[in-house]
């Protein structure tokens, strides 16, 4: 199988493009996911991913064909609507944030599934390929889809690189950020929008159900290796990239396997390794520290 993977990677331009774009997606998810985790917005990412489904279906019903950019616009619209509604519910009612997220996520996703079943029942609907958005199918992406995703992911990575210092301060200490003259409101809105875009461009390859995992797993794995945000972002990006590459490769050479689950399983493997041997409060490091303490106490 490794042989097949190498062959595909070396000789099939299509595969090369798919792998390159899922790699960029993995990096963008790791990077934006790191900021989202520290901002305690990871779950919002999950809600946005699920809420993207009805947007995709509505866009498809409106234009009657599968044009990725239009579908993604629909996904962005309902994704943003979901974040807005979550905010509205938490600020104007007694409902807590976790319950609000759960509510919006399931209502939007349920609506999406209803619309999707309707589309697949229509004549020719089952050829729409929309069901790939559930678990992701990188191999089903056209060359244009791949360019769109790679371009957007590259743009996200660039913006995160440029705004690294501003976002760091904004998340660590928003009051101090304001005192330093940063446009806090603008930066917040920009971050939320880019987080939504990250999720939306990823759903074709990873799927709405598992996209949030690509935001979260590389990020929490990276935390076991470093106490510095800069390195955390780099490591999370690398783990995201590896997961993207491996997931996309396996799913393209073995037809039929959905990409999303493969990417997430790979990322989960990285998490287990990080959790076990990571030098910052990883399992082994903790056990060793505990033994040193016991020894010191017995002396």
């Amino acid at each position: 199988m490794i042989q097949d993977m190498w062959n595909a990677l070396l000789h099939q331009p299509n595969t090369q493009w798919v792998v390159l774009s899922t790699m960029l997606l993995g990096i963008a998810s790791g990077v934006l996911g790191s900021f989202a985790l520290l901002k305690k917005q990871s779950l919002i990412g999950d809600a946005v991913a699920h809420a993207a489904l009805p947007g995709i279906c509505i866009a498809y019903l409106l234009i009657g064909e599968k044009q990725l950019l239009v579908l993604l616009l629909g996904a962005t619209a309902t994704g943003l609507l979901a974040t807005y509604l979550i905010q509205l519910i938490t600020t104007t009612t007694r409902i807590k944030k976790d319950a609000a997220i759960c509510l919006i996520l399931s209502v939007f996703f349920g609506t999406g599934i209803v619309l999707l079943s309707k589309i697949t029942q229509q004549a020719g609907g089952n050829k729409s390929g929309l069901d790939h958005f559930i678990f992701g199918q990188a191999a089903a992406m056209t060359r244009n889809d791949v360019y769109t995703m790679a371009g957007a992911a590259g743009g996200l990575i660039l913006i995160a690189f440029l705004l690294f210092k501003e976002w760091k301060l904004l998340i660590f200490d928003p009051d101090f950020a304001k005192n330093s003259g940063l446009p806090v409101g603008l930066l917040e809105t920009l971050f939320s929008t880019l987080l939504v875009i990250t999720v939306v461009i990823g759903i074709q390859a990873v799927g709405v159900i598992l996209m949030a995992a690509l935001l979260i797993i590389p990020t929490i794995s990276a935390r076991y290796w470093t106490d510095r945000l800069g390195w955390m972002v780099v490591i999370a990006g690398s783990i995201g990239a590896c997961s993207g590459i491996v997931g996309a490769l396996i799913s393209t050479i073995s037809t039929g396997l959905a990409t999303g689950p493969l990417i997430v399983v790979t990322a989960a493997g990285c998490f287990i390794v990080s959790f076990t041997i990571g030098p910052k409060r990883g399992l082994i490091q903790k056990l060793m520290a505990h033994r040193v303490r016991l020894k010191e106490e017995s002396i």
Binding site: L169, L182, D227
Partner: protein, 249 residues
Amino acid sequence: MEALNVKDLQVAYDRKAVLDQVELSIPKGSLTAIVGPNGAGKSTLIKAILGMLKRSSGQISILGKPYSPKNRNVGYVPQRGSVDWDFPTNALDVILMGRYGHIGWFKRPSKQDIALAKEALHKLGMADYADRQIRQLSGGQQQRVFLARALVQDAEVYFMDEPFVGVDAKTEKAIIDLLRELKQKGKTVIVVHHDLQTVPEYFDHTLLLNRTVIANGPTEQVFTEDLLQKTYGGALAFFSTNGDKRVMS
């Protein structure tokens, strides 16, 4: 000249006024204490002045000009509990955040910024802790990191929310020396302070606050039994030691 002038300030949370009709001015070059019971609105006052909270009404001027963070003449030390200490960052990096207002968009801190941050660490006796993740600092050390961060902001007027809380006598001495040094350089330092015993010793100007200004002026005029009782709603016990008046809350 006045370092701070506040006119007709009102702040409300959920339509309930927390601060009302606040009028005050604080002279340039003073070391000012803001004193009042828990919930009096001390933190709210600072945040409203610095635009971190919405004001229902009020004009704020700093050194004769309307306050704007872009003037970069105001430094800020938040209450210690206000940030996530598990954040992946170390002491030096937090101090460097004080330079972000000066560095400008997209750029990274320069060698000079890093040198300034290291100097501030050194000044606060924290030179050995530059690389520590901030959770692994003691409470007093965390407080000193916040102070160092404000120092490198290189401001004219400083607002500090309870910088003395949870620090030992040695750190308290280090902090007050630092504040006095700032005053000597002509800076204005405005501090929320809870320990009434040390107010007359540390501060030359005092603002008594409880939902509105109870009194504001030179410490020797304002820090009287009468006015303090009024501020704390008569919940203070007074006693004398060695002839001078001491207060306990």
